[in-house]
Symmetry: C2
Subunit: 151 residues, 2 copies
DNA sequence: GGTAATATCTGCATGAAAGCAGAGAATGTT
DNA sequence: AACATTCTCTGCTTTCATGCAGATATTACC
């Protein structure tokens, strides 16, 4: 791979990441949630129900703070507490589908604009992007883990 | 473009974005900054000096809150206030290079892991990714603007 | 030159998020 | 059956980012 290509990527990529994060912050603020709360909803939506403790690990919060986080989300009807039948100390938390309406509205502009970006891609480009996202996602999660361990 | 391709992208992409945002949050926390503060540094680094008011517009904060944001960053030596010679009401803010050492360390894991992801791409894939990032960045910024207007 | 508009800063107040330490409930371990 | 461990929750406290409204300084307009 030629050097100019990599240089261009190196210039573009940080700005891109910055924009993604800022969009996340703006979204959270628009729906009246903290950024961590918004992430938690995402995690619950994408990965399904999990225990309070698992959510604490994912968010990097203490278990106490996580209880409060779940309280907040439950009060807004975005999330539901379900007792774990197998271990009654545990609480399973699951996202309430259909209740994230305003969140959906807030994400609409991004969906629209990025939809346009993707729509003008060739199938080969879509394939390349999909593969990248698939590989980058675990990379970010590993980096998160490394960051937290280093603290 | 075939439907299965788009479905796969639709499944992967939200998780990817979630991971990026979470990484941003974890990074901010690791260096002891708020998420907004971290974004501000990025904006100043990538776009160069700007006035306090411009920074307020970019972050979505009031000018008062932005003054405090600059105070915080200045106290840590990450940012510098420079009087605008053309208009002495204004204050230009610029990132202090070389001072973001711990931030660099915190970003190191992501750089490494994502570097590996990019390194195993063909030149064509790199080109597709770079082009995507270039087009997605303004799309996100437009979406941010739309979100804030809708509020 | 005098008044209005603009840009940043300050004081004050508030709300919200998170940590910590201990309580309560359930499970496992010997 | 007793004890230790695990999981979530609660009370309390602290920290901190942010808004708001007014103060101050500078520039623009008439």
């Amino acid at each position: 791979m030629s050097r100019p290509d990599l240089e261009r990527l190196g210039a573009v990529y940080p700005r891109y990441l910055n924009a993604v994060v800022l969009h996340g912050l703006a979204t959270a603020q628009a729906v009246g949630l903290g950024a961590t709360d918004l992430y938690a909803i995402g995690a619950l939506t994408f990965e399904g129900r999990m225990t309070s403790g698992e959510l604490a690990a994912k968010t990097g919060l203490t278990t106490g703070a996580t209880t409060r986080l779940i309280d907040r989300l439950e009060q807004r009807g975005l999330v539901r507490r379900v007792p774990d039948p197998a271990d009654r100390r545990r609480v399973l938390v699951e996202a309430v589908e259909d209740e994230a309406v305003d969140l959906d509205d807030t994400l609409a502009p991004a969906r629209e604009k990025l939809g346009a970006v993707f729509a003008s891609c060739s199938p080969e480009q879509i394939a390349a992007l999909t593969e990248h996202f698939e590989r980058a996602t675990p990379a970010f999660h590993e980096a998160i883990e490394a960051i937290r361990k280093a603290e």
